[in-house]
Symmetry: D2
Subunit: 162 residues, 4 copies
Amino acid sequence: MVKKIIGVMGPGKNATKVDLKNAYEIGKYSASQGFITLTGGRNDGVMDEALRGAKENGGTTIGILPSDDKTTFSKYIDIPIITNMKSARNYINVLSSDIVVVCGIDAGTSSEISLALKAEKKVILVGLEKEANIFYSKLAPSLIFVVKEYKQAIVIIKKELK
Amino acid sequence: MVKKIIGVMGPGKNATKVDLKNAYEIGKYSASQGFITLTGGRNDGVMDEALRGAKENGGTTIGILPSDDKTTFSKYIDIPIITNMKSARNYINVLSSDIVVVCGIDAGTSSEISLALKAEKKVILVGLEKEANIFYSKLAPSLIFVVKEYKQAIVIIKKELK
Amino acid sequence: MVKKIIGVMGPGKNATKVDLKNAYEIGKYSASQGFITLTGGRNDGVMDEALRGAKENGGTTIGILPSDDKTTFSKYIDIPIITNMKSARNYINVLSSDIVVVCGIDAGTSSEISLALKAEKKVILVGLEKEANIFYSKLAPSLIFVVKEYKQAIVIIKKELK
Amino acid sequence: MVKKIIGVMGPGKNATKVDLKNAYEIGKYSASQGFITLTGGRNDGVMDEALRGAKENGGTTIGILPSDDKTTFSKYIDIPIITNMKSARNYINVLSSDIVVVCGIDAGTSSEISLALKAEKKVILVGLEKEANIFYSKLAPSLIFVVKEYKQAIVIIKKELK
């Protein structure tokens, strides 16, 4: 009965166009399957685009917010969960996701990958540079999936959430 | 566009029959209005009954869980948010609620009332003993509403969330 | 080998002169016994005075800080523990204290009392108004001690930490 | 007046002998300088050895504990800070450290590196495999120091904490 939750993680202001495209498409796919799309909830970068992809395609969206400052909330959130815990909310992001999809990398995003692995969650790295792929694949080979772009991520999500 | 969230707080195993009835009815009312019902998410007492009241009447439900132990999850949760933060999750419960409805009291619940007041949230105390009503009314007169049972709580919710 | 930790909790800007005096004296006593004095760490009210009482009398002090903004830190902290979790740090304050001494009351302080009781910590209420004393004594009779001023609190600390 | 805090992070049960040696020596050095040594506090691996190195050499030690289960506490802790927040305590570990020294790697440790970088803390990687060194050096070139063993880490600590 509980709906599946896809967590989409990635950079805010430093996201590339490709990261944003991947995030939007994962949100769109998540919506098409009746999954819930969850991000860190700010109106910036991958967080915002994944939620937009879900909302514009009829999905349900959750933002796990680091602060109660409403000017930082994505306008594509249905359900804002407010933590006031800054980066400690990254732990809640990944614990609450059935699978974690990572579009791009920065320090905050890398903490989400690591916290997800610590909690034994599966993590799909989408379009990351080779240094990140090599590091995380060696750190947790049974949990990490490395793909080039969103289409391959969708194939993995399908298999893993069946 | 963001849906309103009603937080329902109260004891687990020490909830009285009256607390459970009030919790169920608040969940039911919340569902009838298209609000989301949020609790601490365990399969016990007021948390469980508020979610049951919402689910059995077509509502959407969120549980903010203190632990990732699935045997403790209410079966009436649509969206489980997992924190692994034990009582620190009480802060998230109240920050994420547009209004907090309290059905019964114990130590954990009293922390939720206090954290809600600290965050300047409105709190409705439903059917509490006079010691609690007097204490909290004096602590935060502009935020606390004292009522006997769920019908009066619903009147206040209507006015406050308009 | 582990040193005992006395947690001193109470209002910031709304502390009364009597609250501040009680806090200072508890910090001073804690130092005299070789205990560590722990507070919420801000340079305000009871937090600041308890730490000052300890530092001016040769004690060791810890502040569990809600934010990494150094302009808010008490200058009487030896060891700043930084959480960036706002009021969720109240849970850490009480979990880390061997006994909790409360000098005055406001919403934040009341959350600390409640979280302490939830964690089955002993709590001494010093000079609180009767509404608080009655409420908490009924909520957790085996954990709450009600006293008029710091001298009586010291008698209880001696007995409890023996 | 505030003492400097050296955070030592690394694996628990999967620490290598070299990791443990590096951790012990950093704790010993920290004690020799009058710094405080801080770890995640469990009686396991790098956490335990860094605290032992500090305690056996007259230092002061802090453990930021994920759980209140005393059977998991290192016996070399002077000041136990109890969070009950599992891996979310990793954020507090790094926020509270003036510099972070990493001896070995696993998923939890990698979350500490990333959370430290997010908070703009300097991080010294001691004896890590090249995949980790390359990844983190690229992620945050101005914050990451890569060294082979504890002696080089000590040179960097001296310079950075001057």
